[in-house]
């Protein structure tokens, strides 16, 4: 009985998930405001790459990672790629999702149709990852053009960015369902910025005291950065399996919790 209930909850109709995505495509096409958000989200990591990776990189010089020497920009670029994948998906599943959930009552209208809460969560997540992947694909293009990775490295890293988008998008969606109001998003922004600074993005985590290093290794963006950096630089070790598992669990867990919360909130 329990298993059939779970099966019923997570069985998904592609048509209905497609309809949830279709709504967002319609909203995107309806006005310029959405495009502004889309473009601004893309530029941030690129500007960091140029200012810190290239600018500060000129002061720092080359560094050696696992016996391989690389420019500082080549070290920072994969991290910015991971950040781009994270923030692209997050922007969609936090602000936009919250707005649709709390203010526009979009999901209330959708739940009066055959669409189920889990299908809404899946549709919104897929849409978020599509948006995030648009950022990362262009970003990878820049990296190849600037000689910061190879074409093979970029092709290997792209699916990893999709996984990162799924992981952060899903957890972000769950967190949005717990938000009381817009003020809580400031808190989330601070958390996101802390991850951005300390996840081995601008310096190898080994530079920190052991306690801090272990703490960082528990946080999600660290695993995203490690995975993408390994694939972009070609220094691939068994450690990426841990990174992949960590992100996959985030994605599945976040999605499950988010759809449960949506159901709890809207199907009283």
């Amino acid at each position: 009985m329990m298993t059939t209930l779970v099966a019923a909850r997570i069985s998904v109709s592609p048509g209905r998930v497609g309809a949830v995505i279709n709504r967002n495509v319609g909203a995107l096409r309806s006005g310029p405001s959405y495009w502004v958000v889309l473009i601004s989200g893309f530029f941030e990591p690129l500007l960091y790459l140029l200012s810190i990776g290239v600018g500060v990189g000129a002061l720092v010089g080359d560094l050696t990672l696992d016996g391989q020497t690389m420019s500082y920009a080549a070290f920072v670029a994969p991290a910015m790629l991971a950040v781009s994948a994270m923030s692209g998906a997050l922007a969609e599943t936090t602000f936009n999702f919250f707005f649709k959930l709390k203010y526009m009552k979009t999901f209330e209208a959708v739940l009066a149709t055959p669409v189920r809460p889990f299908e809404i969560a899946v549709g919104e997540l897929v849409w978020a990852v599509i948006r995030g992947s648009l950022y990362t694909a262009i970003f990878l293009g820049f990296m190849v053009a600037m000689g910061l990775t190879t074409v093979a490295g970029a092709l290997a890293a792209f699916p990893a960015t999709v996984l990162i988008g799924l992981a952060f998008g899903a957890v972000g969606m769950w967190v949005s369902t717990l938000m009381r109001g817009w003020q809580d998003f400031d808190l989330m922004g601070t958390g996101q910025f802390a991850l951005f600074l300390f996840s081995g993005t601008f310096s190898p985590v080994q530079n920190y005291p052991v306690g801090v290093e272990i703490l960082i290794q528990l946080t999600p963006l660290y695993h995203a950065v490690e995975l993408v950096r390994a694939l972009c630089t070609g220094i691939v070790g068994p450690g990426i399996l841990v990174n992949i598992a960590y992100l996959a669990i985030m994605g599945v867990g976040g999605l499950w919790l988010a759809s449960r919360r949506v159901e709890k909130m809207l199907c009283l």
Partner: protein, 311 residues
Amino acid sequence: MADQSLISARGLVKRFGDFTAVDGIDLEVAPGEAFGFLGPNGAGKSSTMRMIGCVSTPTAGELRILGMDPVRDGTRIRARLGVCPQLDNLDPDLSVRENLTTYARYFGVTRAEARRRADELLEFVQLSDRANGKVEPLSGGMKRRLTIARAMVNEPDLVLLDEPTTGLDPQARHLVWERLFRLKQRGTTLVLTTHYMDEAEQLCDRLVVMDGGKIVAEGSPRALIENYSTAEVVELRFSDGLDSNAQYAAKLDGIGDRVDPLPDRVLLYADDGDAAVAEVHRRGLTPASVLVRRSTLEDVFLHLTGRTLVD
């Protein structure tokens, strides 16, 4: 009998923590019927509607919608329902037409068919000229009509309308009523909630009066008036003396079937209003204003719940 009903409920209960919103109701709605839930805010109308709409799980009791179990077959049932919620939840990011076409996709309607239905429905609710415009500038009545059109986009067997005209001005209300009446004539089964007596009288073949989560009366509007009120009602307002309306009521005792003192007026329930007025004057009372009118559902409601409707 139960197999032919579109909705069948037995001992239906909905509780939120300690609060019982719906307290054991029984009802049957037949195909083609226009069925109403009448009652004040907090009577349990919307909670009942949400259970019928398969977005809320009953706490106890038995509920069958279109012959199916809403917990197990929610998706299949919702595919055949049209829902017009109490508050418009139209999509401000989409155009008027897209609100319909996008919604149709949730029901698996193809793109071309969705467009065809959208244009037809916009015609029906008289919004064709706004098809490409945004939702936000529409008036309250227009939004309501668009929400009703949206509820029709899957060609439902059963349409649920939660307070379809609350908050609309009189003209807009009449236009909505007229459209709903057309739907009814086409044979669409309508289930609606309202706290407007005139709305219930206009639209419903049969209705239940709800109060405190329970059904306190059931029948056609006419039958309810006949059973729970008199043919006519006399409204008396007094402004001379310092007496409260309760004291006037005591002096009116015995006239008609029943005397009901309200804060601002005294109601006299009598089958012959004019004869009752004559008797009032014969007793030496001089009300500032006298109104003899037909009995309405509001009088039924007053009689059943002992208080005026609070919106």
